[in-house]
C-alpha cells in the first residue's frame, strides 16, 4: 500500500469545496482533490492517491535524496569501501551467470 504517483498541478478550482484541481501525470490529466494541500500553487508537484493529493513534493528533498548516493565514495570513507574498478570479481550480475532453478 499504496499506489500514489507525483503529478504537476495545472489548474486549481478555488470556488468549490472540497477544493479540486487538474493534475498532469506524464501525458495524462486528471481531476484531483487538493483539499489537503492548502498552500498548493500551480506548477507544484503533488502525490496523488485514489484521487486525492496527500502531499506536496519537496523538490529540494528529492534532489538531496538523489545526491545522497551519488557521493557514496566520500560519505562512506570510514567503511573502507573498495575503489571503483577494484571490485570483487563478478560483483555486478551479468547475463551470463547461471541461475539456480527451484
Amino acid at each position: 500500500m499504496c499506489l500514489a504517483i507525483p503529478g504537476q498541478v495545472l489548474e486549481i478550482e478555488d470556488a468549490i469545496r472540497p477544493r479540486m484541481g487538474r493534475v498532469r501525470f506524464g501525458g495524462i490529466q486528471k481531476r484531483v482533490c487538493l483539499e489537503w494541500i492548502p498552500d498548493v500553487k500551480i506548477g507544484d508537484y503533488v502525490i496523488v492517491h485514489v484521487g486525492f493529493a496527500i502531499s506536496k513534493m519537496d523538490e529540494e528533498e528529492a534532489l538531496r535524496t538523489l545526491e545522497l548516493f551519488r557521493e557514496v565514495d566520500g560519505a562512506l570513507e570510514e567503511l573502507k569501501i573498495p575503489e571503483p574498478g577494484d571490485h570483487r570479481g563478478g560483483a555486478w550480475p551479468t547475463e551470463g551467470d547461471t541461475d539456480a532453478i527451484r
Binding site: M1, C2, L3, I5, R24, F25, G26, G27, I28, Q29, K30, H49, V50, W92, P93, E95, T98, D99, I101
Partner: protein
Amino acid sequence: MDKKAVLDPTTGLSCPIPITEYKNVLLAHGGGGRLTQQMIQRMFLPSFRNEFLEPLHDGAVVPFQGVRMAFTTDSYVVNPIVFPGGDIGALAVNGTVNDLAMCGARPLYLSAAFIIEEGFPMDDLWRIVRSMETASRNAGVLLVTGDTKVVDRGKGDKIFINTSGVGAIESGVDIHPKRVKAGDRIILSGPIALHGIAIMSVREGLEFETRIESDTAALHELVTTMLGASKEVHGLRDPTRGGLASALNEIAEAARVGISISEDRILIGEEVKGACEILGLDPLYVANEGKLVAFVDPGETDRVLAAMRRHPLGKEAAVIGEVVADHPGTVVMKSRIGGRRVVDMLSGEPLPRIC
C-alpha cells in the same frame, strides 16, 4: 476449497473440470491468460483432439490438395465499439488477417458473422461495415461469405463480430513454435500497450494531452517483407489479449524454451506509460493490435531487422531479448534497474489496483 469430481445427476458421468475451477464462466476465461489456457487445455483440446488442433497456434495449418492452407477464426466483442484509432470492424478484419500472417500465410478470404442486438443504430452498423470494407481492401483480402443474426434487446452487447479467414502458405515457409530454439533473437515490431490503453481511455474517461490511438493494423505485408529477407523466421506471435507477456509465455511453453528479455529495450510511449502508472497496470499485459514478436535465427537477425525498419509498421522494431536453454517454459526479464525477475503468465483479469 476441495477438489472433488462432480457427478452429473442425469448421466452419472463425472465432470472433468474440478468443482474448484469455477461453476460459472468468468471474464478471466476470455482474458488470454492462465484461465483461458486452462479452459483450452482441459475442455477444448481433449474434446476435439487432432493433429491440426494440437499446436494451438493462432491459426491451424491444414493440407489441401498439395498446398498448405492456414485457417483461423476470431470473435470481436470489444466495448466501446468505437475507440480512438478504429472500431470493432477494423479490429475484426485486421485481427484475423494477422492470425493468418502469424502462420506465415498470405491472407486470401474472410467470412464475417454478425450478432447484433435489437435496437443497434443503423448508422453505427454502416460505420462498422465501411470500416471493414476499407480494412479488407487495404489488406488485399476478399470478404466472400457472411451471416447476420439479431438478438433481443439486452441479450447481446450492441454487436459481436466473428471473422474467419483462410490463407496460403508458400513452400519454404515454416513458422511454428517447434522451430524456435535457444539462441534465436526476439524482435518486437514497435511500442506496446497502445490498443489496451486507447480502450481504457474511453472506458475510464482518462484525458490524454495527445490522443492515444489503437495500433490496429494488418501485419501481413510486414511479415512478407521479413520472410523476403530470410526464411529463418522461426516463430511469430501477435501479442493481443494478455499482452506481450502472455504471447512470450505461450511460445516459451509451446517450444519448451526459456526466454530472456530486457525491460529497457521494450518501447513504451510516454503517455501510455503514464496511463499505466495511474491505473496501476503493467504494460506487459496490455493488449496490442498492430504489433508482432518474431523469433529469428541469430545469424539472420540483422537482415530481418533492417527489412522491418524499412516498412512503416516496423520502423521502430528492436531486438528485445533472446531464447535461452535455461529455465524452459519461463520468461525472465532484466528490469531497467538491472534486477531480474520472472514475467509470469497473466493471472485473471489485469485489474487496475490502488495498492
